[in-house]
């Protein structure tokens, strides 16, 4: 059955147009079609959060979204947050506080954390843990991830204060 649909997505500010079967999962679109390989495929069953991206202002697990559902959406992946020459504050904080070991979960962690801090710029440790509960890490035991996110929040808040 070939029933390709015309899809338009805005990914990290760039408009993308292509034909795809509606059943294509957003994570495959991003990784294989658009070569945004930051979001990872971990469990593929909406548990691990490695495929987390921001879609229309929501943190979503892109393994559980059909590309047809995303038609017209604005999507941000880890590639849209920072790059090797200019790291995002969260990327810098993960590096500084050893918020990763193998790095597999990190793009999902940081993409989710960026949304969390946007909604709650000054979270408590408990709020960080609750807000990050949809992302699994098998290396760190989470302690340094939480520390990194809290450090990034403090950094962003002091940058905001300095700008005022």
């Amino acid at each position: 059955m070939s029933n390709k649909k015309h899809i338009t997505l805005t990914v990290n500010g760039e408009e993308q147009e292509f034909l795809a079967e509606p059943r294509e999962l957003l994570i495959h679109t991003l990784r294989e079609r658009l070569r945004k390989t930051g979001p990872h495929i971990g469990c593929e069953t909406s548990h691990c959060g490695a495929c987390t991206v921001t879609m229309n202002g929501k943190s979503v697990k892109s393994c559980t979204v059909f590309v047809a559902q995303a038609d017209g959406a604005e999507i941000t992946t880890i590639e849209g947050l920072g790059n090797p020459d200019s790291l995002h504050v969260l990327q810098e904080a993960f590096k500084e506080h050893h918020g990763l070991q193998c790095g597999f979960c990190t793009p999902g962690m940081i993409t989710r954390a960026s949304k969390l801090l946007e909604e709650n710029p000054n979270p408590t440790e408990e709020e960080v843990r609750f807000g990050m509960a949809g992302n699994l890490c098998r290396c760190t035991g989470y302690q340094n991830i939480v520390k990194s996110i809290l450090a990034a929040a403090a950094e962003m808040n002091s940058a905001k204060e300095a700008a005022q």
Binding site: P22, R23, A68, G134
Partner: protein, 284 residues
Amino acid sequence: MIPAAFEYYRPKDLEGALSVLEEHGDDARVLAGGHSLIPMMKLRMAEVPHLIDLQDVDGLSGISIEGNTIRIGAMTTQHDIINDVQLASAAPIMREASLQIADPQVRYMGTVGGNVANGDPGNDMPGLMQCLDATFTLVGPEGEREVAARDFYEAAYMTDREDDEILTAVSFEAPSGGYAYEKQKRKIGDYATAAAAVLLTKEGGTCTAASIAMTNLSDTPVHSDAAGAALVGTSLDDAAVKAAVDAMLGDIDPTQDNRGPIEFKRHAAAVILRRAIENAWARA
């Protein structure tokens, strides 16, 4: 894991969605947040040749509170429920329960309509809706009808909804008194091993009304009239709470699965209900 191919529809109004349902019968399903249906399609346990995405259908999401009546559109997400200040004040049990569903990413997508209409015994909203004595609004080719949450569930994934109907809203009276939603789960994102929704009214130290519903302890949610009745007229002394827990245990019918054997689930149900009753009473 890629599901079988399907035709995709994104209608702008309810008529458009209903006409696809009417044409294709049980070969068509509506898609809300998709976090129950898409995993089932990926596992090929659900085959949906015609998928109707409700995201653009006007008027299906939003929370309205008029007087004492609360109406929540089917496409309202758990994230919306958690962040609605007025709802949190009018019916705090909705927020308490929603915070215990799945994880943050899933709650951005998961909807109240999908959660109640799917008929999965593991879902939290059906039991909560029975506790609140909510009413579901269903729209089909013949028009609109209402069904009590307590009459809606027939068996696992079997409900009173006809194949050509869409559940469009849930509504209930704002509860007064004490409330609690308690859930035992193996890990974040899991369904309940046992969960309890409790609403209690206290007048001068006596319990004058009680509503108790249990989740994932039978093939449907269990609203235990007997458990509520055991509390009414008492001061919630130990004997009354024990009688309520015993009455609840008489109404549930758990099965053994990867969350444990039957005896363990009965034990967890008793612990969770006792905890919910104590919390609700302290807040009453």
